[in-house]
Symmetry: C2
Subunit: 195 residues, 2 copies
Amino acid sequence: MTETQILNYALNQFAGIDAAAFELSAPYWQRKTYGKGEFYNEYKNVCKYLGFILDGVFRTYYIDDESAEEKNVFFFSKNQVVVAYKSFVTQTPCSYYTESMTESTILYIHINHLTELYGKSHHWERFGRLVAETAFNLAMNRAEEFMFRTPEQRYLELIQNHPDIFNNVPLYHIASYLGIQAPSLSRIRKRMVGK
Amino acid sequence: MTETQILNYALNQFAGIDAAAFELSAPYWQRKTYGKGEFYNEYKNVCKYLGFILDGVFRTYYIDDESAEEKNVFFFSKNQVVVAYKSFVTQTPCSYYTESMTESTILYIHINHLTELYGKSHHWERFGRLVAETAFNLAMNRAEEFMFRTPEQRYLELIQNHPDIFNNVPLYHIASYLGIQAPSLSRIRKRMVGK
DNA sequence: CTATATTCTTAACCCAAGTTAAGATCGTCA
DNA sequence: TGACGATCTTAACTTGGGTTAAGAATATAG
């Protein structure tokens, strides 16, 4: 399967984009590869592209003014959309960095082209709405994790629900994602051995 | 100003709904009042209505299985939309309770009518998108509060940004919203006296 | 204006995460 | 293989929230 076919298939799964609707978009998608540590989008930049990950893992993180620590907010991996959603839809500067954690390949489309597609086909409008709902779900799930669960519960749920991330990311990045320091994660892991 | 005019004005401010577009919706809006403690929507119910608050304050809360405690997730007040967003857009059962904390009055519209309006006017499509973005911002802000701020910082920001809520809600509800117990909020307040 | 319920604060004790620094383990590549 | 850097764990101590229960302050109603 070619990369374009993979994209076509994924968009069909995600939003029912059919062959004709996909054809409309075909001229607009571009391909890009990232080395480990390269940025998809940086703090204070406006996010102008929506990406589809063919391979690799990205993380978006915040830098805390006071502690100067990086705090991981989201991970994005294979066959997912990667975008700084708020910055993208409002075309305002981003509060985060989004960095490739591995060698990665994406296909991406410019916001102007996407907006153009919204006008041309209801399939693409539907796509836009579904991206919005996905972004909402990501943010709400994250809020719920922190409001309702302990760090230990968050750790267990990450292993359950996102083994792909757990298995491909160093523990200190996991700790940051869980909202705790590396030594605390070590203690949690130690505590759990007895269970 | 009549209640309908207030709604018209608010929708115009929020999403540029003009007189003609508002006319389309006029037959669909209904009025409802709530006593203190009455529910806008309950756990396991599908949220079928989107409300606009003319007066009053609502809270949506989660009941933790283990501790059986209520955890406040959002407050909604005058001139805001009240809705259980995820339940509303997916028409699936809600995880939360949304309760009126005061005597309240809302105007509300059924999802089927709203969907109908989406098809009739780009103004209403725009409204749908803006509600989605508002819901995303609410959820993302909440996630950021918990990921990046201490309880004390969250308390200060609530006073700064939402004095209307702070001044009209008992402290034990504020504590729950901040993700801490009432005695902890008391300690924070005490600590801060010296500043 | 008192009685009552609600809300808020305080105290004492417990426990988990933060902090810092040291050392163990793992990977990788010359 | 051996040496370096990266990652992970551990220890000792500090800090702040959780828990429980008591009591103080505030509202509300009779």
